[in-house]
Symmetry: C2
Subunit: 132 residues, 2 copies
Amino acid sequence: MQKEHSLSKNQKIIFDLIDKSGGPMKAYSILFNVQKKGIKAPLQVYRALDKLVEIGKIHKIESRNAFIACQNSSCQVSKATAFSICESCENVSEISNSKLLKYLSSFSDNSGMKYSKYNLEFFGLCKKCKSK
Amino acid sequence: MQKEHSLSKNQKIIFDLIDKSGGPMKAYSILFNVQKKGIKAPLQVYRALDKLVEIGKIHKIESRNAFIACQNSSCQVSKATAFSICESCENVSEISNSKLLKYLSSFSDNSGMKYSKYNLEFFGLCKKCKSK
DNA sequence: TAACGTTATGTAATAATATAACATTTATAA
DNA sequence: TTATAAATGTTATATTATTACATAACGTTA
Ligand SMILES: [Zn+2]
Ligand SMILES: [Zn+2]
Ligand SMILES: [Zn+2]
Ligand SMILES: [Zn+2]
């Protein structure tokens, strides 16, 4: 069982926004959206994002500089993430294929590296965009 | 056999720099280093980088906003990339494990997505940093 | 409670990364 | 050669992220 992190005020505001949006959000778009709630500066947003990433409530989509709520409640606190990204409509979803996640989590090679984390991003066309 | 792309002047200058550096380089560090060769503006660098990425001569390390020369001559023109990144010394190397690359290239799930590309980044500690 | 360390917040300034817009030149090829 | 695509040059600007410093809230335990 995982420790339940109680979010601070700013963290909660920002998590709720991202979570409700249902997709990836960019930092300055988040900022714009929470200004009415008193969050006025980029740093306030980035600090909350950093913390939310750290505790695994959100993930950063590195190729898009965007943040998405964890769609996988059992996600190993940001240590093992995989996403599929539609290059046409920019829809993003978290992959929860346990075989894949297991395969990657146990990956090792002869480089001497000790892996503790990974991030995988698949790109392609979603169902909708394929059929256009 | 792959088409041999002949690089333009700027592309060659920038590729040679990255290649010789042996590791990842950031765009503005590249810019600084090529100013003596007449490349004066960020856009000149980014354009060359875009092209070099497109033809698979370099790859972008998304989590670091940095660019590294392809260390894997048979790399499928940027369609399938995997890296290991030391979180302590920031050493980056391209993974060429054919089993892994094959596994990922053939990955598909029931999401309806048609995957055409992926990027994987492993994080951990390299041999050196582990033993410190 | 009081004191302490830790975490979170507020604010301003600035750094770092990347693109838009437009004019011109060079390479490729029908 | 003439058209087309690719690359270059230049200025300005947009976007993403961090530094630095001051203050407040919170949790622990003396
Ligand atoms: Zn997750
Ligand atoms: Zn789509
Ligand atoms: Zn490569
Ligand atoms: Zn290292």
